[in-house]
Amino acid sequence: MTDPPRARVKPGARIGWSSLEWRAYLATALATVYAGVWLAAAPSAASSPAREPPAEPPANAPSAPTVWLEDLPAAARPSIAIPPGWVLASRTAPAPQSVVAPAPRVRATPRPARPIRIRTRSS
């Protein structure tokens, strides 16, 4: 295996900045650190502007094209496949109370003293 070549630094090399350049560098660094801390401390205030209330649509604007599925003519209704357990909202039907039922609870039945027998009957 070979390692990738590394940049060599000449021993004793120095950065030859003037005092003015040093001041500018320090001011920039401090400003950057201050801005970083301020953003971390108050992210919501910094990242999201205050929310304006939604603008009211003009009174004469057309309403949004929303319609109940059952209000469409039968021929115009799209076929919609939704996952098991989901329900299409309906204008007339009440919303179901529960969507996901818990699994049935299993309970142990005491083993009968006599051999196990199955009983068949109408149910």
């Binding site: 039968a74 299409l88 179901p96 049935p104 027998r117 199955i118 009983r119 068949t120 149910s123």
Partner: protein, 302 residues
């Protein structure tokens, strides 16, 4: 033995030779299968996929699982010349069976107006799109078929011996707890505390249909859940009960219902025609008739 409640009945799981922890784990897996099946196929749950289909006014793309069950139902409808017909949900609803059965809960003064008769053969199943279109007035009820099918599916979870009994529809895998077969007691429809006959079965399924249990009052009459699709009314039969032994609980359930509707003579013909079947017919006179090669076991009425 482990028991849980699903599909409005007690479901028992028996895994002989396994310790309790293993048996309980298997039963939990079986329970999850039943719960998923009920969530998808129940006509009593507003959020089930079947209920969505029963509310749809036009073509509805359904899950592959529901489509497969509807295809099976169609095959049984054709094979029984329409006697097995899952399109009886509206008739049951008009009689009051519009929620899970409980004694007395369905009683009513009079039936609702009976809907126009629709046949399951009128349902359009589009293989290309997976969509289903049902006549607007039709309500599909897959109850017994799905219960048997779910028991068949769940019984494949474990190596034999293994049994699942879903309220009388049972799948029995292997040679039973002691290698001599599973003992199945056939209940007396005239006295539920008695056993009429006991069968010894190996790797078979069994299902029973009778009008003695799910009964309720509609005015002065007594209704029950076995609807004759030829009339849209609770069936009248000279059979009190039919028990069928078959390879799967799904098939046993379909044949037990069909034989009950056919009555003694035609039920005999139907069940004699296939040598792999067995059956116990209980006439309304109380006479018991065995069909096919059935091994009997000693009745233990204790």
């Amino acid at each position: 033995m482990q028991t849980f409640r699903a599909m409005n009945t007690d479901v028992t799981v028996v895994a002989p030779g396994r310790d309790d922890v293993v048996e309980r784990t298997l039963a939990a897996e079986v329970a999850a299968i039943f719960e998923a099946s009920e969530r998808r196929f129940s006509r009593f749950r507003a959020d089930s996929e079947l209920s969505r289909l029963n509310r749809a006014d036009g073509p509805l793309v359904v899950s592959p699982e529901l489509f497969a069950v509807l295809r099976r139902a169609r095959a049984y409808t054709l094979a029984t010349h329409g006697l097995f017909d899952p399109a009886i949900g509206a008739e049951l609803g008009a009689l009051g069976y519009d929620r899970s059965f409980a004694p007395g809960a369905l009683d009513r003064a009079a039936p609702s107006s009976p809907p126009r008769r629709a046949r399951f053969a009128d349902v359009l199943l589009d293989d290309a799109t997976g969509s289903v279109t049902r006549p607007r007035e039709m309500q599909i009820d897959l109850g017994g078929l799905v219960k048997g099918r779910t028991a068949d599916e769940a019984a494949a979870l474990a190596e034999p011996p293994f049994a699942i009994d879903a309220g009388g529809d049972a799948v029995l895998r292997g040679d039973g707890p002691d290698g001599t077969g599973w003992i199945v007691d056939v209940e007396d429809p005239h006295d539920a505390s008695r056993v009429l006959v006991s069968l010894r079965l190996r790797s078979r399924a069994v299902a029973t249909s009778a009008a003695n249990r799910r009964r309720w009052r509609v005015g002065r009459e007594v209704a029950h859940h076995l609807i004759d699709p030829r009339t849209g009314r609770p069936a009248t039969s000279d059979l009190a009960q039919v028990t069928v032994v078959a390879a799967t609980a799904e098939l046993a359930d379909v044949l037990a219902k069909t034989a009950f509707l056919l009555g003694v003579n035609q039920a005999r013909e139907l069940l004699h025609a296939r040598s792999e079947l067995g059956a116990v017919l209980v006439h309304d006179t109380g006479a018991v008739e065995l069909i096919g090669r059935l091994e009997l076991a000693e009745v233990d009425d204790a």
